[in-house]
């Protein structure tokens, strides 16, 4: 076997004859791609053959399932801020990407997915491993395109990266027929794309709307900021902080926005939505001016829309005009990139404190601590709670780790209680709610942010959906900490069954394998604990372990996540128990 360091080919001069596959890989080089998550197969073999020579520049991570590949791409993109790149073959390889595409589309994650496709002359003949990938992925991509001729590759790839990363980011899929991958053509160089005439990634900011927004804010007695992932997607964390600190306005986050402002910032009043904090939900219906920044008023955030912030004037800052007035009618739309609009707004707002108003949030927080938080984080019960595990983890990581969560009760607990000091530290499947997201996304996150500690917090349901990615960890040698919070139930569904279906626990009782033994089979160290006195020590062991480590913590079976805004209720009807 060849083991010597391979030098990747450099970009060929114009008029060099190369294959479509080579042109594709050169495009990735120019776009600054360093990692590809993928899985080979018949219709993408020419690309993989060319990739063999590019190993020095393009690290390929062999996943165990294409869904794992795309979630890893998402984790990479979310942790690094760069475009995630995913390879898959035609037919089943491509259809396995669909869940990840839908997830990336709803959570605005920049991805470029390359799928192989059957030879162009076989399209539509029900050829082996043929699927209508463009048709199937159209509703779950920002843009997709099928290439049947190699000469199209440079231009289409340049468009793909431009579309994926600009404006409101999103997933792009490029389907390349096998003949185009093999075809030799006269390469004319690669020029990154910066303009598409039918595509305006961001508008020119309208000063008069900035002025109107500032006037509203300056005259407000009880202004309230809601922020989402847009602050991070726009790399506007500093601008956001400056705006908040000058205006003195309390601010709450959607789970996609968590971490854009440090958890312990004095104006950070907590999480919004169904399992968010008490104060922010109640105050949404008390404030006089609501300032939404890079968020989209998801139904899990707003609860019942016709009773949502009806008393407030609404200012909505968003880069996507389709979001303005979509769910909540806006008084002042500030359409634009918040990296540009926030500083303009900061200039015009008056320096204020809003101390009394902020203190009201803290009063509600105290009520929530007394009713929910204290018992969750420092329980007096015999069994461990999910909250105390997260609390202990906070103590040990000091809020410096990237927390990747799956979907369900543990996700809500982790998002509520995780301490986040840095931006891009909370990676979760927000809009689509994809169970099985966390393990592969954590792998991708570690590749995207290799110097940070990555902890995947996963339930016993979700981990079994993509557990095969332990193989990816084994083979790549990546260092991911896997923290399974096992309550022996599909806990969130069970909670709803308890509250709304007369405790008819229909098919939520899920059994688990011996996770430590499974991990061992993959050469990954692990430990299982069910006693509180072992918790700190076990978490320390996990974090200190060189390389990946799986820690399974048995937690109380029938705990519920509170507070809760029941479905169909207004945010002010939030329940503490």
């Amino acid at each position: 076997m060849l083991t010597q360091e391979k030098q990747a080919p450099t970009l060929p001069e114009t008029d060099t004859v190369i294959s479509g596959s080579q042109a594709l890989l050169h495009a990735l080089q120019v776009e600054g791609v360093d990692t590809i998550f993928g899985y080979p197969g018949g219709a993408i073999m020419p690309i993989y053959d060319a990739l063999y020579d590019f190993e020095g520049d393009l690290k390929h991570v062999l996943v165990r399932h294409e869904q794992g590949g795309i979630h890893a791409g998402q984790g990479y993109a979310r942790a690094s801020g760069k475009v995630g790149v995913v390879f898959a073959t035609s037919g089943p390889g491509a259809t396995n990407l669909v869940t990840g595409l839908a997830d990336a589309q709803i959570d605005s994650t920049p991805l470029v997915c390359i799928t192989g496709q059957v030879f162009a002359h076989l399209l539509g003949t029900d050829a082996f491993q043929e699927a209508d990938v463009i048709g199937i992925t159209t509703p779950v991509t920002k843009w997709n395109y099928q290439i049947t001729d190699a000469t199209e590759i440079p231009e289409v790839l340049a468009k793909a990266f431009h579309i994926a990363r600009t404006g409101r980011p999103g997933p792009v899929l490029i389907d390349i027929t096998k003949n185009a991958q093999l075809q030799k053509f006269n390469f004319q160089g690669y020029t990154p794309c910066d303009h598409i005439r039918s595509y305006r990634p961001k508008p020119i900011v309208r000063q008069e709307y900035i002025k109107q927004a500032a006037d509203l804010i300056n005259s407000a007695q009880k202004p309230f900021v809601l922020w989402g992932q847009g602050v991070m997607l726009g790399s506007a964390e500093q601008e956001f902080k400056a705006f908040l600190e000058k205006s003195g306005i309390p601010a709450a986050w959607t789970i996609m926005g968590a971490g854009a402002l440090p958890t312990d910032h004095p104006q950070n009043v907590g999480m919004l939505g169904m399992h968010g904090n008490y104060g922010p939900n109640v105050m949404t219906n008390e404030c006089d001016v609501l300032i939404a920044i890079g968020m989209r008023f998801d139904d899990r955030v707003t609860g019942r829309l016709d009773k949502y912030a009806k008393q407030a004037k609404v200012i909505h800052l968003d880069i996507d005009p389709a979001e303005i007035d979509k769910n909540v009618k806006t008084t002042v739309p500030v359409w634009g990139d918040c990296k540009e609009t926030l500083p303009l707004l900061t200039q015009l707002v008056e320096q204020k404190q809003h101390s009394e108003w902020l203190a009201k949030f803290r009063e509600f927080e105290q009520k929530e601590i007394d009713a929910v938080i204290r018992e969750e984080l420092f329980p007096t019960s015999a069994e461990m709670t999910m909250g105390e595990v997260i609390q202990q983890l906070n103590e040990l990581t000091q809020g410096e780790a990237i927390i990747v969560t799956d979907v369900g009760q543990h996700q809500m607990v982790a998002c509520r209680y995780a301490k986040l000091n840095q931006t891009r530290s909370n990676i979760t499947s927000g809009g689509l709610g994809t169970m099985g997201f966390a393990l592969p996304a954590a792998i991708g996150a570690k590749f995207g942010a290799p110097h940070r500690t990555v902890v995947a917090v996963i339930g016993d349901g979700g981990v079994q959906m993509t557990i095969q990615e332990l193989g990816t960890i084994m083979q790549s040698g990546i260092d991911v900490k896997i923290l399974i919070l096992n309550n022996q139930f599909l806990g969130m569904v069970r909670q709803w069954q308890e509250l709304f279906h007369e405790r008819r626990y229909s098919f939520v009782d899920i059994t688990s394998p011996d996770y430590v033994m499974v991990a061992q089979g993959y050469g990954i160290s692990g430990r299982k604990i069910d006693q509180r006195e072992d918790l700190t020590n076990a978490l320390q062991q996990m974090l200190a372990h060189p390389g990946s480590f799986l820690l399974e913590v048995m937690v109380t079976k029938e705990n519920n996540v509170f507070p809760m805004v029941p479905q169909g209720c207004s945010v002010s009807e939030i329940r503490l128990k």
Partner: protein, 202 residues
């Protein structure tokens, strides 16, 4: 049950300028089907500008729904511009073809008169059948079906609606703006905020 206010659904004409791109029809159609909205009429054909296609889509929905749909269409990468208008704001036509037995036309003077009164024009005259064409609104073309039915109407077909927006100065100037990397001061984008309720555009 409390009485609900009637939902103000109305026919809306959505005009979409797009690049000529495979799969875009599907992408646009899915925006409607995802929301379980029926497309009553759809016409797509090259516009006056080379390489740019124009869609005319008719749906029966409230203004609120139509405006949100328009934004979702506009958001697609290959869509240049979207307008939506009620029937009062457009001049619209549908074309219809009617195939009738020639002997009936030849023998019954009354039929020929009816056709002329309805503005029909003969496109093809053969020994066995004749094809007439009319253009007009739905009621007009429907009316002629009723008239011809007793005289042995053999076949009928109607086109999708095409519509010209009364208050529009075409697309040529706008396209030039789109082609500039840095849009000028007069950029089309601003129209959205100026007349938020009426036109969606970026």
């Amino acid at each position: 049950m409390p009485e609900q206010a009637p939902i103000a659904r109305e026919e809306h004409n959505i005009t979409v300028y797009t690049e000529n791109h495979i799969g875009l029809l599907n992408r646009i159609a899915m925006i409607f089907s995802r929301r379980k909205i029926n497309i009553d009429s759809l016409n797509t054909s090259p516009s006056e500008i080379e390489g740019i296609h124009r869609f005319n889509i008719v749906i029966n929905e409230t203004e609120e729904v139509v405006s949100k749909i328009a934004r979702q269409i506009e958001k697609q990468v290959e869509v240049l511009k979207v307008y939506y208008n009620t029937n009062e704001d457009v001049i619209w036509q549908e074309m219809a073809l009617y195939k009738v037995p020639t002997d009936v036309i030849a023998e019954k003077v009354k039929v020929e008169r009816l056709l002329r009164e309805n503005g029909a024009r003969a496109v093809v005259i053969r020994k066995d059948y004749t094809v007439f064409e009319t253009t007009g609104h739905r009621e007009e073309t429907d009316n002629l079906i009723k008239i011809l039915q007793p005289y042995g109407l053999i076949e009928f077909v109607r086109s999708a609606r095409i519509a010209i927006i009364k208050d529009s100065d075409g697309f040529n100037r706008k396209l030039r703006e789109f082609e500039r990397t840095e849009p000028g001061h007069e950029v089309v984008e601003n129209e959205y905020l100026n007349s938020r309720e009426k036109v969606f555009t970026m």
